[in-house]
């Protein structure tokens, strides 16, 4: 037997053991605590329900003792790693959150009142006060209203905001709400994966082709940025983001030091992650397949919505049954399904309609295209242009039913160009980019996340409204009337699960 196969087989056994452990509800502790002070190795694989996620630190093993990303440098006992866990694709799955609640009887700093509860005024030892986090993996994101533009200037919004439904009590609260002394809108969002940042934290040209206006700029260097960080693209750079995260999530009173900032950004720029092993498919980087995190180190940045350099070309070797060298018919079958899923993603066209910043930018409404039209960035499946798009995940009437989320009514003034497909009165769970830009046309536009490590970090969409990959596919099928067959749905799910 070739040693390769032995390793593959070994991984298979591990993964099977893990699935068994899952089924018998044994908790495999992969939690990384703030101040754990161990070394995060150069390469490590973490089991998840689909197999394994690989995490690579390209520079060197990370000495986390004293490291600003890994130490509780704020006032609430949290570190950045609290919500950006290696085992969870540098994000945080709801399964992990529930596990922490159980293990710590709700006392983990993760559940801090500030944003780890539905609203800080609620009784904090009651699980119901943390329901959005425990059920959907959502943190409260309090944003000042009106907000400031990237120069720090107060914006003049094109719309007013009314709170129609306030299940968390936060948006109508006298201290935290819209009518408080510091008017604030609370929306609820999933953490985003902090890895593969080489692709995401990029610079840009001068114009944003989606809006025709200049891209935001790095306040320090003055260079234009790609505007793909955070659901609403409010952080121009990772440095801006880190300062904000320390002040909000960590409740740190003083500014981060230059050295801490540098340490955080250096770490973020060199950590890569992707699914590396799939229980049925086996290794994702053997025999010519190039999945897993390794190929991300040297990967190309750019467009992948073309035949020659596809967004995710990792599994093309599996097209050829003999080259795929499957060990069992089941493995062969799964690999073929992944290949079909990739072809659906790249090539199966449907009518993309009423999606602002895609259908409204000169492509036509509807446009007959594919998943890769929006998710076009090589290696990550984000949008190379600023990726905030109103897909309909937060706006009525297309949003999934989320009765526990706040509901806002936004009314645009008469002079403002209306939201192209919803007009001037819009009901939404999260105005997204519009909370930053104040533009009516941006209401409900959410920056797409990278499609890597999905198996490690359910639920999905910024508002956690899809519990599984299947629910994502079902959302698209409904939203765009695609008419996928059961087989096509399963192929897409299998494909997404190996990224």
């Amino acid at each position: 037997m070739k040693p390769k196969i032995t390793i593959g087989g070994c991984l298979l056994i591990l993964a099977t053991a893990y699935s068994l452990a899952q089924e018998s509800r044994i908790v495999l502790d992969q939690w990384w605590s703030p101040g754990q002070d161990e070394v995060l190795p150069r390469e490590k694989a973490y089991p998840n329900s689909q197999g394994m996620l690989g995490v690579i630190n390209d520079d060197a093993p990370v000495v986390t003792d004293g490291h600003a990303f890994f130490e509780a440098i704020g006032s609430n006992g949290r570190a950045c790693v609290t919500c950006h866990q290696p085992a969870d694709g540098m994000s945080l799955s709801v399964a992990t959150i529930q596990e922490r609640w159980q293990v710590t009887a709700g006392n983990d700093p993760l559940f801090a009142a500030v944003d780890g509860s539905n609203c800080p005024h609620l009784p904090q030892d009651d699980a119901a006060s943390h329901s959005l986090l425990l059920e959907k993996g959502l943190f409260r994101i309090p944003l000042p209203w009106p907000g400031k533009d990237s120069h720090g200037k107060l914006i003049t919004p094109e719309f007013t905001i009314e709170v129609v439904r306030d299940p968390t009590g936060c948006n109508t609260h006298p201290e935290y709400g819209l009518q408080s002394a510091n008017p604030t809108v609370s929306v609820y969002r999933r953490p985003r994966p902090v890895a593969n940042m080489k692709y995401i934290a990029s610079t840009g040209g001068f114009f944003n082709i989606k809006t025709g206006m200049p891209l935001d700029k790095d306040p320090e260097s003055g260079r234009s940025v790609g505007m793909n960080i955070m659901s609403d693209a409010r952080a121009a750079t990772l440095r801006v983001q880190a300062r904000d995260a320390a002040r909000t999530h960590l409740e740190r009173k003083e500014e981060l030091s230059e050295q801490q900032l540098q340490q955080i950004v250096d770490f973020e720029m060199q950590v890569f992650m992707a699914q590396s092993f799939q229980t049925q498919a086996g290794s994702l980087s053997d025999n010519g397949a190039t999945g897993g995190p390794l190929s991300l180190l040297e990967g190309r940045r750019g467009l992948g919505d073309d035949f020659q350099t596809p967004v995710f070309g990792y599994f093309d070797v599996w097209r050829d049954a003999s080259a795929a060298a499957a060990e069992t018919p089941a493995q062969q079958e799964f690999r073929e399904s992944v290949v079909r899923g990739n072809d659906i993603y790249m090539g199966r066209s449907f009518w993309i309609s009423d999606a602002v910043h895609i259908n409204s930018i000169g492509l036509g409404n509807p446009i007959k295209r594919t998943c890769a039209t929006c998710h076009n960035m090589a290696n990550t499946g984000m949008d190379l242009a600023p990726g905030y798009v109103d897909l309909g995940t937060t706006n009525m009437p297309t949003a999934n039913n989320m009765p526990d989320l706040p509901l806002f009514k936004l009314t645009c003034n008469d002079k403002a160009p209306p939201h192209p497909f919803l007009g001037r009165v819009i009901y939404t769970h999260d105005p997204g980019r519009a909370l930053i830009s104040g533009l009516c046309t941006d209401i409900g536009a959410i920056t797409m996340q990278q499609l890597r490590g999905l198996s490690a970090r359910a639920p999905y969409f910024a508002n956690g409204s899809a519990d599984s990959l299947r629910e994502i596919v079902d959302f698209y099928d409904r939203r765009f009337n695609i008419g996928y067959s059961q087989q096509e749905k399963q192929d897409l799910v299998n494909f997404l699960s190996v990224l």
């Binding site: 206006m213 035949f307 309609s353 409204s360 036509g364 594919t370 192209p420």
Partner: protein, 277 residues
Amino acid sequence: MKTLQKFTIQVLCLTVLLAVGKGAFAAEHEELVLPDNTNGQPISFVSCPAIQDTSTVPCWFADHGDTRYFLGIQQDIGAAFHPPQLKHRVLVEGRILDGYRLCGAPVIHPVTISVLPEMDLQCNEMVPAIPGIEPPPHERGAGPSNDGLEPRERAAPQPLPEPPFEAREFVLSFTFDSAVMRGTVTRIISQAFQYARQIDASAIEITAYRASSLLTGGQELIEQAHIAESRAEKLHTIFLEAGFDEDLFSVSASPGYLRGNGIADHLLRKAVIRVIP
């Protein structure tokens, strides 16, 4: 090496094609080039657009009277024709091109399309594919593009101007009731940036206009009163963001509006950037 790459690509394309089984991909075609048609009969109207499926990319139409005219096909953002949007009426301005039928319909060419900003839910006509009705030859199908290995287009650097420098005007045109700068406009703005930097401009004047469009039926459609200011303000912001000094600018919105006469009225919805040495 190169042949190998090409071969792999072909195999890949073929596999994708077979897998999808619909043939919904680009055939490698040159785009169809239509004659200038400078003397064609002018036509301007507002109506709901209609979209019709084909075996590849859809065709776009709009009705005037009893006639359904071909406007263009779905391509890419860089294409000259930007299709209409359902849920919106469209202002069509152009000339009737005699002797052509595309996607089975008479053709308006050249054509300017303005998606009217307010919604109209009655504009919702999608026609299924009709056998035999196909789009003209085109570059991009309904799937990925074919230019993955082509170098990205870069704006060709303009030759350095020689002194003595002269004042130069850069004219931008907009769709009806809109101040959005699409790619054609931002390219001209970039040229203005470049010239202003090259000659170290002492002043930059921005004048924005609004206009009316005279429809074929005799009705005059007038842009909203605030749209000239919107255009002027946005351009001002864009120049400041590009790093030009506030002191250089005089920015104005022309009072009143320019009156269209039914011929090339789209050229009146404009802004003029004057770069002065």
